[in-house]
Symmetry: C2
Subunit: 681 residues, 2 copies
C-alpha cells in the first residue's frame, strides 16, 4: 500500500495514496476535495478541470515527474477541439494518477467557490445554493422488473450521486418520460434541497447534458421600488440587475396608507397582491431579457421585504399590521413554490425562499440587512440604517442586537417631492450651493460633469434635466442650510433675507430655484418649503428610530454607522450628517453597504447555510416597536431642526457610492451595477 502514488491537492492540502490508474476526480472525491463535476466523471461537462504541477515540492515531500499523470486522452482532445481547454489544464475525470503528483484545483473548478462581494465590507459569499445540476444515466425500463421511470431515475441519482430521497411534482412527472427517451436515458436534472428538507425535489430535467445554466433572482421588494438581481447559481455572478416602481403606490404612498386601503376597500388587499405579482412577472421577463437567458432557467427566487409587502406578496390581508399589537400571520422564513405566489414568469417549478420577519414592523428586509452586515459579529457598536420608504435600523455588537423600523415615508426616494423623481438618467443627483453667491451647481444621472463645466449641455442633451432624485434632494436641503438659505427650523428665507433672486415667493412661503429649463421646454426645478418639510419629517423619523435603539442599549453614541439603501442613489454621508439623518459619528466611521437588504437576499440565494443562520440570528434579535413608544415621538419632535449652519466637515468631501440598480422604464440603465449587462435587442 505504501508504494501507491501520493496525491496532494492544493489549495486544500488534502492528500492520500491511491493505486496507479485512479482518476484524479475519484481521488478528489475520496479525500473530500472540493472538485466540481456535473456529468459524474463522463468527460462531457468539463467542470472537473485541474492543473497538475511538476517538479520538486519540498513542503509536500514529493518530486513530481513530467509523466505523473496518464497521457492526454481522446476525450480530453475532443473536448479541447470543441471548446478549448486552458493550456496546462486536464480533465480530472480522465487524467489518471501514475506516480506522486501535486494537483491544483483552480477556483472555477470548486463547487463551493467564494464570490467576493463588490462592496465596502468585502464580505465573501461561499457558493452553496439549494439547487444543483446533476447529469445521470438512467436504467431503461424492464417489463419483467417493472418500476416507474421516476423510481429508476431516483435509483440512478442514489447510485451515481449518493443522493437519497427524490420527489417530483406532477408537472415534472409529465415531462419525465419524453425527456428520458429523448436523452436516450442520459439526462440532466436540477435538484433542489432546502435547508430544512429531507429530500431533493426535481425542479427540471433536460435530455443529455444541460449547458444553459441555472439562475436565481434575489428580490428586494420595497414599498416604493422593487430591485432584482439575476444571479448565476453556479458562479454566484450577478448577470443583470433591474428594478421598477412598486405599482401598489397607486393604492397609497406608504405602508400605512396601503393597510388603510385594505381596511377600507373589501378585496383591496387582493388588488394590491395582484398588482405586485404582475409587476414581479414583468420584472422577471425584463431581467431575463437583459441577462440574455430563458426565464425558465430561473429556478429559485429569494425575497426580502417589510412585513406589509410580505403579507401582500403572500396574499395575506395586512390589516392586523395596521393596529397594535401588529400581529404577523407568520413570522418564520417560508419556502414555497413560485406558483403559490403567482410567479408565472420563472420556471414553473421554481422555489421561493422568503427571509423571516423580525416583528410586525420589522421585516424580512431588516433580517436581510442583518445577514449582510452582521452587526452581531461586530466588536464595535454599529448602527446600520437601511433607508427606504420605511427605514430598517439595527444597532448592536457581539453582545446584543436591537432592531426597529421607522416610517420615513418616500421622500428619500424622490417621491412626495415637488420636482422629485426616482433615480434615473436626467435626475439631479448631486447639488452644491456656493455660500457666497448662493448659486447652485449640480450633476445629473448619466453624466459625470457638473452643470457649470464645459460640455455639460451636450452631455445631458439626450437625457435632459428631468427632476431631482432622493440623493439630490438630500444634498440640496443640506447645502441650502449650509449656504444660509434655510434657518434652523427649516424655513426658506426670502430674496431679501438671503440676497439671491433664486429665493422666489410661493404663496406665503418661498422656494429655491435649482434649474430653469423652461426656455427649452424643460421643467423648472425648485426646492419648495413643502419639500423641506417632507425631508425634515423623513430625517426626524430616521433619527428618532436610531435614538430609540440607542436609548434601549443605554448608549449616547455609536462607534460606526453603516448607511444602506435600496433606492438606487448615491448618499453623501456628509450631507446626511448635516441634515441630521443619523446620530453624530466621526465621518470616517460612516460607510456605505449599498443595497444591504438586496445583498442579504443574494447571500441567501447563493448559500443555504445562510438561510439557517439568519433564521437563528433573527430569533436572537431584540425587537423594539417604535409605533407605541412615547420616546419615539419625543425624539422625532426634537430632531426636526437642522442645527448646522456651516459645513462642519469641509475637509471630508466624501461621497459613498451605492451600487445601482437600473430601472426598466425610462432609463437606459447607464448606472446599472450588472457586471455582464446585455442590451435589449
Amino acid at each position: 500500500m505504501t508504494s501507491d502514488p501520493l496525491v496532494v491537492f492544493t489549495p486544500s492540502g488534502k492528500r492520500g495514496r491511491f493505486p496507479a490508474g485512479t482518476p484524479v476526480l475519484t481521488a478528489a472525491r475520496q479525500l473530500g476535495v472540493d472538485l466540481d463535476s456535473v456529468c459524474g466523471g463522463r468527460g462531457i461537462c468539463s467542470k472537473c478541470q485541474i492543473t497538475p504541477a511538476y517538479g520538486e515540492f519540498p513542503k509536500h515531500g514529493v518530486h513530481v515527474a513530467g509523466d505523473a499523470l496518464s497521457d492526454w486522452n481522446a476525450v480530453e482532445q475532443r473536448y479541447d477541439d470543441k471548446r478549448g481547454l486552458t493550456p496546462g489544464r486536464r480533465l480530472g475525470c480522465q487524467a489518471q494518477i501514475v506516480s506522486d503528483v501535486v494537483i491544483d484545483v483552480p477556483p472555477e473548478s470548486q463547487v463551493h467557490r467564494q464570490v467576493i462581494r463588490k462592496a465596502a465590507t468585502d464580505r465573501q459569499i461561499t457558493m452553496d445554493p439549494a439547487t444543483r445540476l446533476c447529469f445521470v444515466e438512467v436504467d431503461e425500463p424492464d417489463m419483467h422488473e417493472p418500476t416507474g421511470d421516476l423510481e429508476r431515475l431516483a435509483r440512478a441519482l442514489a447510485a451515481q450521486w449518493e443522493i437519497g430521497g427524490v420527489t417530483a411534482d406532477l408537472s415534472l412527472l409529465a415531462r419525465l418520460q419524453p425527456v428520458l427517451r429523448k436523452g436516450k436515458w442520459q439526462v440532466s436534472v436540477a435538484l433542489h434541497k432546502g435547508h430544512r428538507d429531507a429530500v431533493h425535489r426535481i425542479l427540471d430535467i433536460w435530455p443529455g447534458l444541460h449547458e444553459g445554466g441555472l439562475y436565481g433572482l434575489a428580490i428586494d421588494l420595497g414599498s416604493t421600488t422593487i430591485a432584482a438581481h439575476l444571479t448565476d447559481l453556479e458562479t454566484g455572478e450577478v448577470i443583470a440587475s433591474s428594478g421598477l416602481m412598486n405599482p401598489q403606490i397607486r393604492f397609497g404612498e406608504d405602508l400605512m396608507s396601503r393597510v388603510s386601503y385594505a381596511m377600507m376597500n373589501p378585496g383591496g388587499d387582493r388588488e394590491m397582491t395582484e398588482a405586485v405579482r404582475a409587476a414581479l412577472n414583468d420584472l422577471t421577463g425584463e431581467i431575463a431579457r437583459e441577462g440574455g437567458i430563458d426565464p425558465a432557467l430561473i429556478v429559485e427566487t429569494v425575497f426580502v421585504c417589510n412585513p406589509v409587502m410580505h403579507h401582500l406578496l403572500m396574499g395575506l390581508d395586512p390589516v392586523e399590521l395596521g393596529q397594535a399589537p401588529f400581529a404577523l400571520a407568520t413570522s418564520e422564513a417560508m419556502e414555497l413554490a413560485a406558483g403559490e405566489i403567482g410567479l408565472t414568469a420563472v420556471n414553473p417549478r421554481a422555489r421561493v425562499y422568503v427571509l423571516p420577519c423580525i416583528a410586525g414592523h420589522v421585516g424580512a428586509d431588516a433580517a436581510a440587512v442583518a445577514l449582510s452586515e452582521e452587526p452581531g459579529k461586530s466588536d464595535d457598536l454599529v448602527l446600520v440604517v437601511d433607508v427606504g420608504t420605511n427605514a430598517e435600523i439595527l444597532l448592536g455588537n457581539t453582545t446584543r442586537v436591537l432592531a426597529c423600523s421607522s416610517p420615513t415615508g418616500p421622500a428619500f426616494e424622490g417621491a412626495q417631492i415637488s420636482s422629485g423623481q426616482r433615480a434615473a438618467p436626467g435626475a439631479i443627483e448631486r447639488v452644491e450651493i456656493d455660500a457666497e453667491t448662493k448659486e447652485p451647481r449640480f450633476r445629473v444621472i448619466g453624466s459625470e460633469l457638473w452643470s457649470d463645466e464645459d460640455g455639460f449641455a451636450e452631455a445631458t442633451s439626450v437625457t435632459g434635466i428631468t427632476g431631482i432624485c432622493g440623493s439630490g434632494i438630500i444634498e440640496a436641503v443640506a447645502e441650502m442650510r449650509m449656504a444660509g438659505l434655510l434657518d434652523e427650523s427649516g424655513l426658506i428665507g426670502s430674496a431679501g433675507q438671503t440676497g439671491t433672486a433664486r429665493a422666489i415667493p410661493e404663496g406665503r412661503t418661498h422656494s429655491y430655484l435649482i434649474h430653469d429649463g423652461s426656455a427649452d421646454g424643460g421643467p423648472v426645478i425648485t426646492v419648495t418649503q413643502g419639500d423641506i418639510r417632507a425631508i425634515q419629517l423623513a430625517k426626524s423619523a430616521l433619527y428618532a428610530g436610531a435614538r430609540l435603539l440607542m436609548d434601549e442599549m443605554a448608549v449616547e453614541r455609536v462607534d460606526r454607522v453603516v448607511l444602506a439603501g435600496a433606492f438606487g442613489a448615491h448618499i453623501s454621508t456628509k450631507h446626511a450628517m448635516v441634515l441630521g439623518m443619523i446620530p453624530d459619528c466621526p465621518l470616517d466611521k460612516v460607510t456605505s453597504a449599498g443595497n444591504a437588504a438586496g445583498t442579504g437576499a443574494r447571500i441567501a440565494l447563493c448559500n443555504t447555510g445562510a438561510r439557517a443562520e439568519i433564521e437563528r440570528v433573527v430569533r436572537e434579535i431584540t425587537k423594539v416597536e417604535t409605533a407605541i413608544e412615547p420616546k419615539f415621538q419625543d425624539h422625532f419632535v426634537a430632531a426636526n431642526a437642522i442645527p448646522h449652519k456651516s459645513d462642519p466637515f469641509p475637509e471630508l468631501e466624501k461621497v459613498v457610492r451605492l451600487p445601482q440598480v437600473s430601472f426598466n422604464t425610462g432609463g437606459d440603465g447607464e448606472r446599472g451595477g450588472g457586471r455582464r449587462r446585455r442590451r435589449r435587442a
Copy 2:
C-alpha cells in the same frame, strides 16, 4: 404513593395509581389508554365519555365505592342539558379520581376504534386516519414578544397536544388571523400527517369547537365506472356511496383505445384528464349532497385505479403504457394536494393519496385488492379476481403473491352489449331459463320480484325494464347454455334447432328474446350472437389471466376463489363458473369480496398504517405481464368454448351479493349500500 387510589381501565386492562383529584382523562393519557378528546380536557367536546363501574372486582382486586369519582359537576350538567349524556356516563376530563375505581372506555370514546367491514371476510378496519381534529387555545399576540399567529398556534399545539412541527399553506394562512380572532383565540384545526411526513399540515381551521366532522372520499376510478364512498373520518362510517360512468368512455371503451386516442390526437390525453377531473368534481358534489355534508369538510381522498386511469388522472400522458415495456412514469404511492389534480369540489387544502401501482398493466386497483383481501396472509392458495373493464387478478398465499391484469373489456359491465346498460334501476340483473320450455324469467334492479310473479308489473312500473346489466348478461348467457340454446362454441341455435320461437333470426345468426316491451313503448331486449361473442372474449381473457398465474405458480388448481367487482352488480358464482370465467373450484370455496378495490381504498383512507403496509406488500408482489406472454394467447383461445351443457351444481343456487354503489344519474339509488343515505332535497 401506595395509598394513592388505583385506577383500572377496561377493556385495555391498563392500570395505575394516581393522586386523588386526578381527572380520569389525565390518568388515561398517562397510562396510554385510548380515550378520545378533541378539546383537550376542557369539557366541551364530550369525546372522552367514560363509564365508571361500582362494586367488587375480584379480578382487579378492588372494591369500587359509589363515590369513587368526584361528584357530577356543572360542566357535565351543562353538557347533559344541552346535548344529553347517556345515563351512567361521565366526562373523563371532569370526573376526578377519589378512590379505587374501574373505568370502562366505550368503543365510541376510543380514538382507534375498530370498524367492522360489512363483507364476507369480516375484516376489521382500525381507525387511524391521517387527519385529526384538535381544539386548541392560542396565546394572544404580544407586541413586546412579537411572533406570528402561526407560530403561536404551533406552540399551543406542541404544548397542549404534543404535536411538533406544523406547516400551513398560504390559503390557510390567509384564513388564520380572522378565525383566531373570531374564535377568541380558541380554534379547532384539522391536522394532517401522512405516514411519510415529518410534520403536520394544517388543512383547515374553525373558530371554537368544530362539530361538523371531517370526511374522506374513497374512490375506485375504473375505466367504465367511478365509484365513491363518503366516509366519516372519525367513525369510519360510510355515510353515502355514489358512482357514475367514466366520461372518458367517449374517447374509447377500453384502456388501449384510450391510449390510442392519446397517441393519435395531440392534446388527447389532456382532454381525457379534464373529462375525468370534471366528473370527479360532479361526483363529489353529488355525494356530499347525498350525505348531507358541506363538501369543504372532505379533507382527504384516496384513489385506486388502473395505470392508464392513474396517469390520466394525474395529467400524465399514458402513451408509454400502450407499448412494451409498458413503463409507468411513477409506480410508487403518491401524496398530493387535491388542487394538483384539479379536485376543486373538496376542501381547497384536501390531501390525496394514490395507492402504488404494481406494474405497467397492474395498477393501484390491484394493490387495493391486495390490501383488502390480503392473499399474502392466506394459508390456502387463493385466487382473487376483481372484474372490471380490466380484470385485476391476484394469486397467492403466505409464501408468494403473483399479480396480473387482463383486458376483459367492458362487457361484464353491460357495455358493448346490444341491450346492455350499467347497473341501475330497470336493468335486468338476474335471468333464469327453463330448460324444458326455453322460457325466461328475470328480475330487474329496483324490485325483489321475478318477472313471472304477481305484482311484477306494478313493482316495475316506475323504473320500467330498460336493458340488461353486467350480472344479467352473465346469467343470461350461462342459462342459455344450460338450456341448450347455445352450443359449446357459443353459437345460438335457430328456432328449429332449439324448439322456441324466442330464437329469432338476425342476419346470418340468431338472437334470443328475453323481453319484448314494444307494446308499451319499451325496448325489445335480446341476447344477440354479438353479445355472446363479447362475453366469450371477456371470460376467456379473465380465465387466461388466472391460468397464467397458476402456470407461473406451477399449480393446477386453487384452494379458493374470491370474486370481486366494482361494477355494482350481483355476480352469481354458479353462473360465473358455468361460463368458465374462473378456474374450477368447489362452489362453496367461491366467495365474494364485493368491491374489493373500493374496500382497499377505504382501508387506506381510514388507516395510515395500511398505506405503509400496502407500499411494502406491493414491492414484494411478483408481476406477470400478460400482454407479451405467448401462453396467455394459448389459454385465451382454449378458454373460448362454453363446455357445460347442463347445470353442474343444481343444489347450489347461490348468489353472492356484492355491496352496491348507486349511480347518480337515471337511478334513485334503491340498491345503494350507504348506511345513512339522505335523499336529494
